[in-house]
Subunit: 223 residues, 2 copies
Amino acid sequence: MREAEAVCPAGWLGVSADVVVFSVGDDALRVRLQRRHRTPFAGSLALPGTLLRDDESPEEGAQRVLGGDVGLDRVYREQLYTFGRPGRDPRGRVVAVAYFALVPASVAAGLPDGPDAAWHAVDALPPLAFDHAEMVAMAHRRLSAKLAYSTIALELMPERFTLSHLQGVYEVIGGEPLDKRNFRKRIGALECVEPTGETYRAGNHRPARLYRRRTPGRVEIIK
Amino acid sequence: MREAEAVCPAGWLGVSADVVVFSVGDDALRVRLQRRHRTPFAGSLALPGTLLRDDESPEEGAQRVLGGDVGLDRVYREQLYTFGRPGRDPRGRVVAVAYFALVPASVAAGLPDGPDAAWHAVDALPPLAFDHAEMVAMAHRRLSAKLAYSTIALELMPERFTLSHLQGVYEVIGGEPLDKRNFRKRIGALECVEPTGETYRAGNHRPARLYRRRTPGRVEIIK
DNA sequence: TGACATAGTGTTGATTCGACACTAAGTTGG
DNA sequence: CCAACTTAGTGTCGAATCAACACTATGTCA
C-alpha cells in the first residue's frame, strides 16, 4: 500500500468519480478532456475526475467535477459503470465510478478550448490516460442506445432549437443518417417538444421553426 | 476515519461487492439473503457481499462472494450500480459496487434454506440491512427490463426445460401473465432454443417437449 | 374408457415502421 | 425583380410486427 498512499491521504478514499462530458458541435460528438501535468500519464489527456472526499458520495464527487469545469451546474448526469481493475492506476488502488454528462451546445460554447481542457471529437480521440478510453467508449454506447428509448437527446439541446438541429444530434451520436420525415413523425408522436412560434434564420434559405422542450429537465423513457 | 478503520484494515479498501442473487422457484422470483450476526444490523437479513481485497477487482470480489455460497461458479453476473452515499454503512465509509446474478432453478435447489442463508420471495421481503432493499429493487427493475430486449431469462433455466417453464419465469419476473401462443412465437423467432427430442412428464397430462439453449452462456441483445 | 390437465398450434385486424419525392419560403446575386 | 439556390416542411403505401383470441392433442389416473 506504500504507493497507494500517494493517492490515499487521510480523509480520502481510494475511490474516484470520473465524468465523460459529452456535447455535440461541429457535426461531431465531442468529449471534454483535460491535459494531465502530473505523473502518471503526464502530458496525456484524461477525463475530468477527482478522488472522493470523505463524506462525499460518488454523485456529489461527479457534480463537484462538473462544477469545477465552469458552471456545469444543472446538466444531465447519470452513473455509467464502476471500473476497479487493480492496476488501472499505476500509483495504487483506485476504484473509479464513472459518470456521463450531457452539455447543451449553448453551454459547451462557454467552455472554450484551452491548453488544459478542450473538446475532442469522439471519433478521433488520441490515446487517453488510465482506462479512460474504455469509459468513453462505454458512455458512447450507452448514450447511443438510450436515443432509441428515451428523450435523453433533449439534454444536449439548447433552450430553443430546430428539428433539423435535433436530427443532427441523433445522427452524430448514432453515426448514421436518418430520414427527415420519419424522424419528425417520431419526435412529434413523443409530444416532448413544442413550437415556440419563433423562427431561426441562417443562410439563404427558408427559416426553421424553433422548438422547446415541453418538460424541461425530465428524461422520459418511451415505448 | 476512526470508525471506518473498523472495516478498513490495512490491505483492504473501503469498497465492497454485494450481489443480488436471483432465482425463480415456487412461482416467485427469489433472492438469496444471509442472516447477519455482527453489528450493525445484527439479526437482519442482508445481501451476500464482501469487502474487496487489495488487488481484487469488484468483479473478482463478486465472483468470490458467489463462489463462497456453494459452487456458484459459472452463473450469469453483471454489474448493477454503485452505492456510495456516506452513512450507508454506520461503521464508516464503504462504497458498494452492486452486482446481480442469475441462478438456474436446478442449481438453486442445491443451496438449501438454512439459518444463515435462504431464498426469499422478492415480493415479500423483510426489511434488509444497509441500503440492500434498494439494490434488490433496482436489480429487479433491470432484470425485468432486460427480458424485453435480451435472452437473459435463459440464464435462469436449467440445462433442459419446457417452454411452459420458461414462460413461467417471464411471468414471475414481469409480474403479469403472458399469452401462450404469442410467447412461443416470440421465443421461436429468437432461435435461441432448440428441442432436445426428449419429453418431460409431470402429472396426469400430456408431456411437454424439452428444450435447451442453442448457444449456452451467451446472452444476446435482440431487436 | 372417460374425465382430467396441461401441451401445442394459426388467423386476423390493428399498429408500427421504413422507404420514398416534392413543394414552401426565405436569401442572394446578377 | 427575378432566377437560382438552399434548407424547411409535409403524406402515402406496403411490409412487418404485435395483440387478441379457442380449440385439438396427448398423456395420466381412477
